[in-house]
Symmetry: C2
Subunit: 443 residues, 2 copies
């Protein structure tokens, strides 16, 4: 009998714990992650790693937990430049008197580049490796995300009316098709279609969105049932709940990501379940704007895939997915009236594998398994003020925040090392942020 041949690897990571997400609920100790090229070569015991693998480089992380990179499924990255500009206001005052005028005055290609970089820097620093974006000038967001080495779903916006990015649906689709064409074969940039909401997009453009999705494989992301007002107004105007209208238009499918969903009845659950559509839960935005509560456990029990997003920094006001996980787990329990609902492991899956599913990339992302892309992060639980640690999954969700992230890799390429970003020039970025901030403060 010949021994197994020695396998070469670029990198071996030896953490205290590994939470691979798949199998669900697992916490591995005395295990290593091996990376070769842009892929995970193996997640094996240290003994097997010693015997079978020879790595060019080894990183020891004795107090750390390694898990898949987080997938932030909804946001408006460039709005980070409006972070904390206007808070504690009713939704319509916030939009009419603050956000929309500021967008009209300031948002251009340069704003998008700097704002998206600022958001990406914060996301990388706090453990996100993939994000979904929906904002003006998506062609700029796609380019800066690509240049930073992040994985990103870039949804081009679609509305009935003119905006700073275009004159109306025809132009949005023309520009959107060009973005899909440009990036369709890219591993990291995933172009998608972003109809804003049922109340801002009429049936014609929604039908065109469905056709475009079917033709190109691009996903559809839409704000849906964000507030009670949205649902009651739709019932008043069309005698139809928005979910039902989208279902009847054929817009709901396994390629559809429904963002928010705070107002849900049994008919909605049936429509969502039978369509295979995904939900993007944004708990902090829903709370802060007093939009409502998404019944995460009920939806999960119905077989619906629930993912997690921060929403934009103007309504959150950060991009820390660990904070979002904490809020999701806590609020999920009180909404379900059950302290066992939305458990720590379940919440970590929402922020990783469930996001990969919604992106249609569960074969490549969202868990630490041999053959998947090497998108992973390390979190230091050795900090004195996090002690003691009985269960690293509990700590990640209930005691941690994103700043404990020390390392991050996307497709095997280091993005964060010892808490420092490797690909974004933070001092240069800060100079540009300060310029925008001064300009916006003077408005």
């Amino acid at each position: 009998m010949t021994p197994d041949p020695i396998v070469a690897a670029d990198l071996r990571i030896n953490p205290r714990w590994i939470i691979p997400v798949q199998p669900a609920g697992a916490v591995l100790e005395d295990h290593a992650v091996l990376i070769q090229g842009d892929r995970i070569a193996a997640v094996v015991s240290n003994q097997e790693a010693d015997e079978r693998y020879r790595a060019k480089e080894t990183i020891n992380l004795p107090d750390h937990v390694v898990l898949p990179g987080l997938i932030n499924m909804h946001g408006h990255a460039a709005m980070s430049l409006f972070r904390g500009m206007a808070d504690d206001l009713p939704l319509m005052t916030w939009l009419n008197d603050h956000i929309w005028p500021a967008e009209g005055q300031f948002v251009d290609a340069a704003f998008i580049a700097t704002g998206t970089q600022l958001a990406m820097a914060e996301m990388l620093r706090t453990g996100t490796t993939t994000f979904s974006d929906m904002y003006f000038f998506p062609e700029i967001a796609a380019q800066v995300a690509h240049d930073a080495g992040m994985r990103a779903q870039i949804c081009f916006p679609l509305l009935d009316f003119p905006t700073i990015w275009g004159s109306g649906p025809d132009e949005y689709f023309d520009k959107g098709r060009a973005i899909i064409e440009q990036w369709r074969d890219d591993s990291r940039i995933m172009p998608a279609i972003g109809p804003h909401a049922p109340y801002t997009v009429s049936n014609g453009p929604l039908a065109t969105a469905r056709t475009l999705a079917d033709e190109t494989g691009a996903k559809i992301q839409i704000h849906l049932h964000e507030t009670a007002f949205e649902v009651t107004e739709a019932l008043r105007q069309n005698n139809q709940r928005p979910v039902q209208r989208l279902a009847s238009l054929g817009l709901l499918g396994p390629d559809t990501q429904c963002v928010h969903m705070t107002q849900i009845d049994d008919s909605d659950i049936r429509a969502l379940t039978s369509s295979g559509a995904h939900i993007v839960h944004c708990p902090e935005s829903n709370l802060k704007l007093a939009s409502g509560l998404c019944p995460v456990q009920q939806l999960t029990d119905a077989g619906i895939n629930v993912t997690l997003g921060t929403d934009g920094a103007a309504s959150n006001n950060d991009h820390d997915m660990f904070g979002e996980m904490n809020t999701a787990a806590m609020i999920g329990k009180v909404v379900a009236d059950d302290a066992a609902a939305v458990s720590a492991h379940q919440t970590i899956a929402m922020a990783t594998l469930n996001g990969a599913r919604a992106l249609g990339r569960e074969d490549e992302l969202g868990s630490l398994e041999a053959g998947k892309l090497a998108d992973l992060i390390a979190v230091d639980l050795g900090d004195p003020f996090l002690q003691p640690v009985y269960d690293p999954a509990s700590h990640l969700v209930y005691s941690n925040h994103g700043r404990q992230v020390t390392h991050s890799w996307i497709g095997g390429i280091p993005q964060v090392q010892n808490g420092q970003l490797t690909r974004i020039d933070v001092p240069d970025l800060m100079l540009r942020v300060r310029e925008w901030s001064a300009k916006i403060s003077r408005r």
Copy 2:
């Protein structure tokens, strides 16, 4: 006309912003805080500080906001050694199968000393200068809080039945009276009476608690209306809501702190308002244990003083009051169905001045005003991932976490400097925490 004489001060702090809490909503720029002895000598413009004051020492904090030290109004500090030991469980499973057995097995004077120090270290690091504690061996907690230089309300526990700390109400009162006697003239340690809850303390001991409070001036803190079950059981057994029962026993007064209050009707509000009792809101504990939602804005509008607490680290799972403020502001809006409810400034007041009111020390604590005790903290908002900053109050509540605290003083004595604790030996503490953690893991 003779010029004003030059006034001597021990310390001048020059931050970018000051949020004094009083006057409500104020954000001062180009101002300084002057400290003399254990008191705030002045909060004045830099010009006035230059002209009138001569400080022995000056600290420049160019990216920081200075505010009163945070007051954590409810917790069980030593339970930090059980942090994350058992999560995602129904309340009674959590208590019966995990917390109570572990308490019986491990809690003794040494456990209390180490656990309380661990909690204090985390609280200091994250901006808390005063905390309230309710746990076994309060005489030990009082001593270690005193030794660490923290301000603390130490509630001795009172229950109908025997515990690891005593045989029943008679012994609890004997020991409690001794603690009150020992500390009654201390500026930092505030002994108080801690009847556990209406369902664990019968009318006799509650009446004795009222008498003891009247005789000594000690405050009363009690868990109240934490869950719907507590209220429905009380109605079933006594045909009386717990708040009404306490009111009829004379237990509710301006010296009473009611912890949790997630189940509230109009009669409760009337009883609380007319009594002058205070509420301690613990939103993260209420969410995580699926206890319920406290209607903070409604209570505040009724004129009731609402303060903030983290609860114990076994049910939170941290002592970061910035995280608690974030959760309180967010959940307060959705409960009030109003994005303008529980504003950033209001939340900061809950965590400072309102706590001082509940402690009966609003003349000395809770805001930055000349003559008050110099309990204050500095928070660094210069971090790249917090940019831009338009409103420091918004950032403190919506974007910050406790680790951005860089400095803290209690009664003018430095407790945290450049993020390092000055009075607690963290490496030595960690050795003892590791020993406890190993022992508890093996249970």
